[in-house]
Amino acid sequence: MHRQTLDCQDIVLRAVLRSAYIDRENNRVRSDAFMLRPLPKDEDGLSVSFDCEPAQSASQFKKCYGVASLHVGRIRDLGLDVVPDDVTHANVTGLLRSDDNPAEAEHFASQLAKQARLVWQP
């Protein structure tokens, strides 16, 4: 049985699966990591994990270049939401695809990137 909702003070983790999505000069995650992929990928939203350690989040992938943390409350401040669908997995919902609305898709990605803190790297 997984949680039905997350609290605003909860933290979610976004795994960064491409080296180029990390700005190593400034130790931050690029906005590219927060763009939805074309359907059917990311159909339910942007994949994040919660209630787990960053290394655990990274270990779910064959290759992970970093893990970023974000506060659920700050994500909701953008008009988005975070919806759990498993014990440690959730989706950031409300994001738009660049095919549908590039300005909003890019802006949301920028805002999420600004909020994100790189908390784990291999």
């Binding site: 699966l17 491409r18 180029a20 999505y21 700005d23 690029r30 906005s31 590219d32 763009m35 992929r37 074309p38 990928k41 992938f61 064959k62 290759k63 660049s98 095919d99 590039p102 300005a103 890019e106 802006h107 920028s110």
Partner: protein, 182 residues
Amino acid sequence: MLPLAENVSTPPIHKIVDRYLVYVHVPSAPWDFVVEDDDDSRTPDFDKYDVQQPHLGTDGFSATIKQIFALVAGDESDGYGVLRPTDYAQRKTLKLLSRAQKAFADDVENRQLGLSFPKGFVATDSEGGIRIEWLNGDKTIRLVVPASENGQSYIYFEDDSEYGTSDRVNGSVLAHFLRLVR
């Protein structure tokens, strides 16, 4: 046909030069890198393009181009999707950057201020489209070129008070936006 430039130094660039049979002409400017073809609908075939590439150095333009070459020389895909830029994305992006660099360099005000083409950070999307981001403080410019001609190229701009996209994408427009991040 003139010989390839001698100072094309890094392995990925050699690889690209070999792969696409890049012919180098006597450069008219230090950073000419010109793809002479306006027709984006043609089947990608770099053998048909006339590319001027005297050498790649350490300035912002060449640093940006090098990242594209590195992605082209890298793995085709990863767990996230297509990693290598598609031929369409490569061709279109190189053309846009080339023309933007020329427009940037030709601009009188840029010359007077001593502004040089800024370094962008290159990545691919999950389909093999190319995304390039330029940052300066709270200002962001992104050039997004899709994996195929079915997608839409655009330039995204953002500062602390506004954001938006331009779907009018050519070298002059890109050069105009890039002045914002110098």
